[in-house]
Amino acid sequence: MADLTNNFIGIKSPNPFWLASAPPTDKAYNVNRAFEAGWGGVVWKTLGEDPHIVNVNGPRYGAVHSHDRRLIGLNNIELITDRPLQINLDEIKQVKRDWPDRALVVSLMVPCEEAIWKNMMRQVEDTGADGVELNFGCPHGMSERGMGSAVGQVPEYIEMVTRWCKENSSMPVIVKLTPNITDIRYPARAANAGGADAVSLINTVSSIVSVDLDKMAPEPTIDGKGSHGGYCGPAVKPIALNMVAEIARDAETAKLPISGIGGITNWRDAAEFLALGAGNVQVCTAAMTYGFKIIDELTSGLANWMDEKGHANLDSIIGKATPNITDWQYLNLNYVAKARIDQDSCIKCGRCHIVCEDTSHQAITEKVDGKRHFEVIDEECVGCNLCVSVCPVENCITMEQMADGVDPRTNSPINKNYGNWTQHPNNPASSA
């Protein structure tokens, strides 16, 4: 059986699944339930200064659903903890004492003044918590007060506050980044320069999930008005994966540990984050959608896959896909693939045909010998993968490499050598 124990910047947990700083980690009651269910660690819901903030008393969440009302995107306008600081600190201390084998990290958000941060770090250290996570990510509410993503969008602030925290504490410091920025490498480099032990990402994406067309107001709607919220859930996973990869392959931050966050719903999502370079993962929306029990699927799915692939421990998968992320200009232009439709599993819905016909390359038949039959026309197929993407039957359409012979679309022999854009004759800057 694969070993799932995790050591993330010296913080140990029985598995790499932590609950992200969010409503599920707002108080001891929830965190105890999470640990009973088997979660490896939690990042406690963000603490702030007293007097504690207040939340709206109306709806805090908005949702995006896929077919059959599966929740694929959630946004929220909830702020950091709305309980007094001391209550949180007391609970954190007790929970850590009760669950010594689990990771307990405390998320923090206070104004950009060194004395305030210093004081907060000291109070957290007193609880025996394993580390802190600096919340430079939340895009709603607190950002209007110069905190959260307002800090995360200014690399100089990130570096400054990170340094204060490191200088005033011996605890590991994780810097949580906002995706609401054009190039994630700059805030990551700033955190690294400030001495961060790790970064965690992504926090939520600024969003309006829907508009109530009767009230003519964004949702969630509070007394006829709405405010942008933070978007999360399966819908944001692709954004998060890319940002994790960007940091993992950036020379300046390649060695900076990453805690991966963003739409992780099942073991496969987690494995993908780990493969791109995350040292562990944090989950929120999936738990808020299905409850804590999903940890059983996450751990058993990951372990079974690792066993099947012969990975003994997490170190043997972390970062394994990172070297395969490259720039477009280095992709092999001599690689040729064609779509193939497995006629035995084809249910003849015709969607591959109509999308190819209407929106792409007219490379899939509609009828053959007068009969409804969908087949790839190699002379037209550019191998774009649209048909694979829209086919309702998994693995019915696959992309197959054309390893030799002549590509009937271009009438050119397959070139078995690697050749990229930098070498291409159409490139005015070609080096070839």
Partner: protein
């Protein structure tokens, strides 16, 4: 409910066989549609309803648009949603059968959308300005109503005559009660007529009250949708006995009565036949309290006109289906008490009795051995017949250029509500072209 308590049979007869989908169920089911290209379900629908579009309209919270899509092709979409043998039409070819042997429940979704729209009382159509042309539609069954509605839509003035006391034809008189509860046939009739420009005259019979020649004189065009008015008779010893009943009449009586007790078929019932009428009679006999109900069909099960779905419906309602049995004689003293049936072989050369017989006790024998076209009402006007029914071209025009026909009374009629609707619609389009040429 007031008055004396209804018996269990009455309750079953008045209860939808399949409860309508709730909004949640409709949303879940609509999500299953793949929005196929050149969808097989549309090809399979005799009225060419754009099924993927109407389902997508349900899925996107646009039930009014969905109903408009359905009604544009089939103004009797509500009844068809209830009685269509979808398992041999749209749902049979749903690609979900290939995927997981579970088609999208198209019929139920169609009912959801049409029920929604009919509850508003509004039609999604506006009648065109009057053209001053007059058309007579003979028969207010599905073919006649579809024809009349389309013609009215185009601004023509339509008169429907029907020999029965109520309009609706087979929808009102010929379908099992549990398929069209809450007076649906009548409500649908009123909904269709609400387009305006249609006058329904009941109790007016072609041939006796009006001849075809008179109608041709009085109107610019005539559409005939008079169905199959005569019932095949089996000349058997004992068929005159009390308790030997015509299934078509039994079904009609059930639909029109409020007091089912007068129609009780007794404890033991044998239904002779193998079509939808046989199933409708047998299942309703069970609902009325008959203990032993047997359908006896003279050929093999594969030849039964009742669909597989209908056969299973009968069986799950406690009806026994026996094949390769043909009636020989009915016995009884004044009233039937048994029927003798002979086993048959249905070889390629035809049906032959084996000589071996069986006697089944019976308090009622229902005859459901088919209906036939009665050309009596056409007297005096020479219309070509084919296979004993009215011959029409692809546009449903008869050999007389001023007369169109559709539904079960035409050659090639499929004994399907939805096919009759298509006939009426096609005829109306042809009549409209002819009147505006």
């Amino acid at each position: 409910m007031t008055g004396k308590p209804q018996n269990a049979g009455a309750a079953a007869l008045a209860t939808d066989l399949h409860a309508p989908l709730t909004a949640h169920e409709a949303a879940v089911e609509a999500d299953r549609c793949y929005f196929c290209h050149d969808a097989p379900c549309v090809t399979a629908c005799p009225t060419d309803i754009d099924i993927p579009l109407f389902i997508r309209q349900i899925q996107t919270g646009n039930p009014a648009g969905s109903a408009a899509t359905i009604f544009a092709q089939n103004i009797l979409g509500g009844m068809c949603a209830r009685v269509c043998p979808t398992e041999t039409l749209c749902e049979q070819v749903c690609v979900r059968n290939e995927a997981e042997e579970q088609p999208v429940r198209i019929g139920q979704l169609q009912r959801y959308a049409t029920d929604y729209q009919m509850a508003t009382g509004e039609q999604p159509f506006q009648r065109a300005a009057s053209t001053g042309k007059k058309v007579c539609v003979v028969g207010s069954g599905p073919a006649g109503l579809a024809c009349a509605h389309r013609l009215a839509l185009y601004g023509h003035s339509v008169t429907i005559i029907d020999r029965a006391a109520k309009g609706g034809g087979l929808n009102e008189y010929g379908i099992a009660a549990y398929k069209t509860v809450d007076n649906f046939a009548s409500r649908e009739l009123n909904y269709i007529l609400s387009i305006g420009g249609i006058e329904l005259q009941t109790g007016v019979a072609l041939g006796t009250d009006k001849t075809l020649a008179q109608l041709k004189d009085e109107y610019d065009a005539v559409f005939i949708g008079i169905g199959l008015a005569s019932v095949n008779e089996a000349r058997l010893p004992g068929s005159e006995l009390a308790g030997v009943r015509d299934a078509v009449e039994f079904i009609a009586q059930l639909r029109q009565t409020k007091d089912y007790s007068s129609l009780q078929p007794g404890r033991r019932v044998v239904v002779i036949g193998g079509g939808m009428t046989a199933v409708d009679a047998a299942v309703q006999a069970r609902m009325l309290g008959a203990e032993d109900v047997t359908i006896a069909y003279r050929r093999g099960v594969e030849r039964m006109n009742a669909s597989q779905y209908e056969q299973e419906l009968a069986q799950t309602r406690g009806v026994s289906i026996k094949c390769n049995l043909q009636p020989v004689a009915i016995a009884g003293d004044g009233a039937v008490n048994s029927i003798e049936l002979e086993y048959t072989n249905d070889s390629g050369d035809g049906l032959a009795g084996t000589g071996e017989t069986v006697v089944l006790p019976a308090d009622t024998v229902f005859m459901a051995i088919g209906q036939a076209f009665d050309d009596g009402p056409l007297q005096g006007t020479a219309l070509n017949l084919s296979q004993g029914r009215i011959e029409v071209d692809d546009e449903r025009r008869s050999s007389d250029p001023a007369i169109w026909a559709g539904g079960d009374c035409i050659a090639g009629g499929e004994d399907l509500t939805v096919a009759a609707v298509q006939d009426g619609k096609l005829a109306a389009e042809s009549i409209h072209r002819s009147l505006t040429a």
